[in-house]
């Protein structure tokens, strides 16, 4: 035991230093041994991690490059459950994403393809009941200049955004995408990455809101997205979802 700890009687002190990551040498060894052998010490470390975690909130978010996800997906592809059916399904999904952006007809064709391959999906009943037609919204500004085309494929819960024009942005701000159900409050779909096309797969709770008549809007928010969960900046484009 190091002399450095003889002055402190607090049993959780070493755990705090371990969670903070300042220990070196013998003290670090001792903390590691305790983390392996002493459940109470682990609880202390966990508690300290919880105390220190708010420090992470101050770190500004940064969009990783698009290729970062591709690398993860490639690694998933090599995993144990990456069998042929799943590989095929994945390719169909990818193709379907492109198709949905191009035309409703192509998207429908892809739906037929996928319907045969997809195993019975454990989706909530309400998803199955929702209309399965692809929807499209043309998002424009006051001058009705189209800025973003949003295509929604309910079966795949995939939203494809195409940005034909310019979406001026700067390092301090992000474009955040919202769905506003008819008569409801705006719900965030996340921030938009830079680039001409973006694919988003939505969770069930959000997917349910993308129905005919719902509004899709883009607002300018602080980098990383609205801090409040509601739009705080100007809406630069919006449009209503209708059948493709």
């Amino acid at each position: 035991m190091s002399d450095d700890h003889t002055t402190s009687g607090a049993p959780n002190e070493l755990a705090g230093e371990y969670a903070l990551g300042v220990l070196t040498g013998g003290d670090l060894e001792r903390a590691r041994e305790l983390a392996k052998s002493d459940p109470q010490f682990r609880v202390e470390v966990a508690r300290w991690s919880g105390c220190l975690a708010p420090l992470l909130d101050s770190v500004p978010p940064a969009d990783p490059p698009a290729a970062a996800w591709d690398r993860i997906e490639r690694r998933l592809g090599g995993q144990a459950n990456g069998n042929n059916v799943i590989q095929l399904r994945r390719r169909v999904y990818q193709w379907r994403g492109i198709a949905a952006a191009m035309s409703g007809l192509a998207a429908c064709l892809a739906l037929v393809l996928v319907a045969d391959i997809r195993p019975p999906a454990p989706v909530p009943a309400q998803i199955e009941q929702s209309p399965a037609q692809p929807l499209v919204a043309m998002l424009g500004d006051q001058q009705t200049k189209v800025k973003v085309v949003a295509s929604w494929d309910p079966a795949a819960r995939q939203l494809v955004l195409a940005v034909p024009g310019e979406m001026p942005s700067d390092a301090q701000h992000s474009h955040e995408l919202w769905v506003i159900p008819a008569g409801g409050k705006p719900r965030s779909l996340g921030t938009m990455s830079a680039g001409k096309q973006m694919h988003m797969r939505l969770a069930d709770a959000l997917a349910q809101l993308l129905r005919q008549g719902a509004t899709i809007a883009v607002s300018v928010e602080p980098r990383g997205g609205s801090p409040t969960g509601a739009p705080t900046g100007p809406v630069v484009a919006s449009g209503v979802l209708s059948q493709a």
Binding site: W48, P54, P61, D63, Q126, G224
Partner: protein, 194 residues
């Protein structure tokens, strides 16, 4: 269904996002790839920011980001929503991975002790207990720290600086640095448990 919709729209945005992340992690634990993708879309900017801050190198940060989501893919079942929020769990996981990478890259190739830092399966990497307090309280307790202690604790946790590194950086004896940080930690803890 109407009931569920009402409940969802009645929630505040923050609660809603919280519930959604928990649900996504549950689905990821069941090996749902689309859920991992959704989770990535919602959380990668925050986690990448944490990796960048620790590593100060985009290529390393991208490597670690990938490691983080691969770990989430295999270990999502270890997340316990009763102990921490999903975003806290993910953030601390990203922080721990990034710091591990930092240590490994600094260690001499033959230093086995330092290399063993990269044991990403150490139980503590997944165990986080958050105080049942709102985040403004936590922020308040951090803000209440003495300015220098706050800076040092921040540098240690976010950038992986050790006691000897902090002492060198500040030009103070090692013992002084240890006292400063220990006092800061105790004060933080007392404030949080008040």
């Amino acid at each position: 269904m109407t009931h569920r919709m009402d409940r969802m729209t009645g929630m505040t945005g923050a609660e809603d996002a919280r519930a959604e992340l928990i649900e996504l992690l549950r689905r990821v634990a069941g090996q749902d790839r689309s859920a991992l993708r959704s989770l990535y879309e919602r959380t990668s900017a925050k986690l990448y920011g944490i990796c960048l801050r620790a590593l100060a190198n985009e290529s390393d940060a991208q490597d670690v980001l990938q490691e983080v989501y691969m770990t989430v893919w295999t270990k999502a079942s270890r997340f316990d929503a009763t102990k921490a929020s999903a975003i806290t769990w993910l953030s601390v996981l990203a922080r721990n991975k990034a710091i591990d990478r930092l240590r490994a890259s600094r260690a001499p190739a033959n230093d086995l002790n330092a290399a063993s830092d990269v044991q990403d399966d150490s139980p503590s990497a997944f165990e986080i207990l958050e105080q049942a307090q709102d985040s403004t309280r936590l922020d308040h307790c951090i803000e209440e720290l003495e300015e220098r202690a706050k800076l040092m604790i921040r540098a240690a946790f976010l950038e992986g600086a050790s006691y000897p590194e902090l002492a060198k950086r500040e030009g103070v004896p090692l013992g002084t640095m240890k006292s400063l940080i220990r006092r800061g930690l105790q004060r933080l803890r007392r404030c949080l448990e008040r």
